[in-house]
Subunit: 336 residues, 2 copies
Amino acid sequence: MSPFNNNSGTDIRRIGEFGLIELIKKRILSKDKRVLVNIGDDAAVIKSSSDKLLIFTTDTMVEKVHFDLTYCTFEEIGWKAMTANLSDVAAMGGLPTWALMTVGLPQSMQAQSVLSIYKGASAIARKHGCRIIGGDTTLVPKNLFISIALLGEVERKALVTRGGAGKDDLVCVTGQLGEALAGYRHLSKYGRKKLSLVRKHLKPVPRINQARELVRKLRVNSMIDISDGLSSELFHLAEESGLGVLISERDVPVSPKCTRLASLLGANPLNWALSSGEEYELLFTVDRKDKGKLDRIKSNLGVSVIGRMVDQKQGLKIVRESGAVLPLKKSGFVHF
Amino acid sequence: MSPFNNNSGTDIRRIGEFGLIELIKKRILSKDKRVLVNIGDDAAVIKSSSDKLLIFTTDTMVEKVHFDLTYCTFEEIGWKAMTANLSDVAAMGGLPTWALMTVGLPQSMQAQSVLSIYKGASAIARKHGCRIIGGDTTLVPKNLFISIALLGEVERKALVTRGGAGKDDLVCVTGQLGEALAGYRHLSKYGRKKLSLVRKHLKPVPRINQARELVRKLRVNSMIDISDGLSSELFHLAEESGLGVLISERDVPVSPKCTRLASLLGANPLNWALSSGEEYELLFTVDRKDKGKLDRIKSNLGVSVIGRMVDQKQGLKIVRESGAVLPLKKSGFVHF
């Protein structure tokens, strides 16, 4: 990197890039005894656990593609970019540990705004035991971007991939779905009024604690986080596991906020719940033998069983409330 | 991530983003038995060495800030972005192992161009035992960017930071300096004619092998890579070590190509050598007790001794050929 190196010749107005880096160092970075070299050298140096596997992931958000500064604060953008990464670690069954955070900054950015991005990212990272230990700052001609690289750790027996689902596994999701998309539609139409309705869109939370509980207590055979929408992720999971999926409309946990906003805007809440991206909820499958255990803990963890894994040749289907069985679409939209 | 996840709704023209990801998977990624989960899941999973420290770094290059597509091929951009990261690992005394590579792509990009970026990055990474194991692709409204996160490993006794220089240490550099800046000036003025003159600007090489030789054979007390120019890095090294530096004009290895281009353009070659960024050569200090050993291996490794570390109160100075002692400027430019 050099962690927060000065990557270009031009200064951010007001305090300059070196001033900015000093600010970030002071306000955001903190010591961690497993981090031997922190910000201020060519790279960070870490003592990793010898008995754990390393999780390595990255996720980037770009202004006008993933977020719009008309609706979002800088803190929220940092928070969300970090959540996207933390959520990937959750989906592997692991715990996040260290992050490098890169920001591409238009010349007109205020130092305070940059600090707010780091503050938002650091806040949600720290809640889950993860620290920002470096990164890179660079100028960009136009659109702001945030790119985070994250490390995490996972015990070999806790590791869960997308491809391990077995036939008859119970298909489950955490949380309630549809709020992220509903929030986005609400913001586009009404702005930041009634913020509580759109909180999940602005400050989604990664399901790290739930994932850890689940992999400790159950045979979780496959897991993926919902960043592209439930339907789309069901397709990924089924494909990677070489199986089909049968889910039941009645059991899909559509968020009441999603239902409320959808009816306000004349949309179908189920479709929103199936296609809402950036939910950062977990979609996973549990070995049928663990049904009893799952039943005992699911309400505490906010988990819903929405269906089961079936033969690949049965494809991906949804049982409507009416009893009709319809093919599921990747985009999430079912025809009525 | 999901390694190479489809991070946005719009497609790259021609083959679409998923098609692009498939292409990258097929053409660029390769198996590594220490990588348990590769592209195609939420994150990569790695078995790291229990007896080594982990190096974690990131570096980003943005169109119109760090490169200009008028002068550079896509392959060269990928190569250079990877070299910047590999060089950071070299500067810590380590070996690079795995990379995640993120590309921000304008909608008009050709799939083939994206593949060329990956190809260039992968070529220089593989030469040094490092593999691309995932990343992220996203659309950007305008300027192309490449952001790489890199992991490496280093034995605790081989680790070198910027801050370990001792008084009387010999100050050394690898290679010959000034070509990167000279190449840039040449390209701006004459384009890609006489490519051999500008190769170092377009396809710089990280000094990983030299760094490993050095840390194995000598007491290397501090090290930094020259990404911002020799003078600027001397200031970093001196500051982090709480010392001053005295270098000798006569011993600064100015590249003959730099000298040739500078005289062609009426510039001063020494100033170019002092201020040329993106050299990716190593600046390091060796314990005076190892002078004999250093003398025996330096020509084989292309190393020059350019001065020594002195008391902080002496500051940073350069002894001109004339014998005059002048203060060194951070920008690299000395006054005549």
